[in-house]
């Protein structure tokens, strides 16, 4: 497997591969997200309890799922960067962290906007909400650490260590927060049994989840390509590429 994967550690090869992937993923992500949101927001039946306001689920749930998913991918990249010293994996951490942070912010914001009409409050110190907020801090920590060094490579490596430490700590944080919540407040609004979704609502949600995943992939390709260009700016192939781009534009 390593023989097969090894060429992709080379920035130039990876750059071309990412370009190919990005060309497919970006339009696909846009189409899937459009289908999912239009279906979810416009054509699904209203909820019998929550009326139309439940429709925010089509943005809230996918972003919440993928905020964690992005962290997992970032930690995998960090692990690869630390163990096999792959430079491009280090850069991938920086490419993914802001995407994850924005997904987390979207999840928190849509959650608050949903919570206001349903629970009557913008924010409760519920276990899930708190975990999500801490996840945002972890993302911000990784981003801040990566940009804090005069030597960019040190920043990349430090961020890799922090991402791996964070992923070890994340389950501990998650369970302790859950435990803390049950200790402090007994029955909360979120405790009622989860109603199973009707297929007519479930399908657009699944499509939106897929759309967020595709968008994450496309944005990662884009950001990682930018990172490769920045890090390899002194290499001949980058100069050649930039010149080609300029010629194409003229």
């Amino acid at each position: 497997m390593f023989k097969w994967l090894d060429p992709y550690a080379k920035p130039q090869v990876l750059f071309a591969t990412l370009l190919w992937w990005q060309r497919w993923l970006m339009p696909l992500a846009i189409v899937v997200l459009l289908i999912g949101t239009i279906w979810g927001l416009g054509f699904t039946p209203a909820d019998y309890q929550q009326g139309d306001s439940y429709r925010i689920i089509h943005v809230h749930v996918p972003s919440a799922i993928w905020s964690m998913g992005v962290y997992a991918w970032m930690a995998i990249a960090a692990f690869i960067a630390l163990v096999w010293q792959v430079k491009t994996a280090q850069w991938a951490i920086g490419a993914m962290a802001p995407i994850g942070a924005v997904y987390t912010l979207i999840a928190l914001f849509t959650g608050a906007a949903w919570g206001k009409p349903m629970w009557g409050t913008w924010w409760v110190w519920d276990a899930r909400l708190t975990s999500e907020l801490i996840l945002l801090f972890l993302f911000l920590g990784v981003m801040a650490l990566q940009n804090a060094f005069a030597d960019r490579q040190t920043g990349d490596k430090a961020a890799a260590v922090l991402a791996v430490v964070g992923v070890v700590n994340l389950p501990i944080i998650h369970f302790s927060v859950e435990w803390w919540n049950t200790l402090h407040q007994g029955a909360t609004i979120t405790k009622f049994a989860k109603p199973s979704m009707d297929p007519s609502m479930l399908w657009p949600l699944l499509i939106c989840i897929l759309g967020f995943a595709l968008l994450f992939g496309a944005l990662t390709c884009l950001r990682l390509r930018t990172a490769i260009l920045q890090h390899e700016a002194h290499r001949p192939w980058v100069r050649q590429y930039v010149e080609e781009q300029q010629h194409a534009r003229v």
Binding site: L82, I134, F137, L138, L140, G141, A144, L145, A148, F149, A150, D151, T154, G155, K157, A158, V161, L162, V164, V165, G166, V168, N169, I172, I173, S176, V177, W179, W180, L183
Partner: protein, 224 residues
């Protein structure tokens, strides 16, 4: 040189430095006491209220005062080239890291435990709650020292150390804060808090096995 020899030599040197530079362990302690003084002034001195918020207040003060001392932990050795020499000589950094963490605990964790009976007076804690405070501090402050050493090692050569260290490390403190203050709270109600202590002990075991390796890695990448 073996790990043990490096550990001993570093610890001896650190203790000597602590004995000479008293500010290194006096300042975090004063900071701790001052935060605890500020809380009754800020939220009001009603004994019931103080007793209720005491577990959280004590632990937040402990977190912050350990964090205060953390930034300087490796900085001196980094600036004057000790770390560079250690890396260049291929000396075992693990022993060095462990000695640094131990010295960090002695300078910023141990004084908090020793001063904790004072808290009982300040915040009106019962004897049971005080015992819980001492026990959780005993288990928790080494964990704080481990994690803050990791933060200090990661941000060692960063341009803006202080606030970055807090941003990186404070989220990792959250489980500790939750379980430690829960233990003290339970003790205040006269309930059993062995479960929380067991969890704290487990976290300490895991952290003391894994964190020094991460610290070593972080030190190397800042120097190399």
């Amino acid at each position: 040189m073996s790990h043990v020899a490096v550990f001993r030599a570093t610890l001896k040197r650190e203790l000597k430095l602590l004995a000479r530079q008293k500010a290194d362990w006096v300042n975090p302690l004063l900071f701790f006491i001052i935060i605890l003084t500020l809380f009754p002034l800020g939220v009001g001195a009603k004994p019931n209220l103080l007793r209720e918020i005491a577990p959280g207040v004590i632990w937040i003060a402990a977190l912050l005062s350990v964090l205060l001392g953390a930034e300087r932990q490796f900085r001196q050795d980094y600036r004057d080239g000790v770390l560079e020499q250690l890396v260049a000589a291929r000396a075992p950094l693990l022993g060095y890291s462990l000695a640094k963490i131990a010295a960090g605990w002695i300078s910023s964790g141990l004084p908090l435990i020793l001063v904790s009976p004072l808290l009982a007076l300040f915040l009106g804690l019962s004897a049971e709650a005080l015992l819980a405070v001492v026990l959780t501090l005993l288990l928790g402050t080494p964990l704080l020292s481990l994690l803050s050493a990791l933060g200090a090692a990661l941000t060692l050569s960063a341009d803006k150390g202080g606030i970055l260290l807090a941003l990186v490390i404070l989220p990792l403190y959250i489980p500790l804060l939750i379980f430690a203050s829960a233990a003290v709270e339970q003790a205040g109600f006269g309930l059993n808090y062995q479960a929380q202590l067991a969890v704290l002990a487990a976290m300490l075991c895991v952290a003391s096995a894994l964190v020094p390796i991460a610290v070593q890695k972080a030190l190397k990448l800042n120097v190399g």
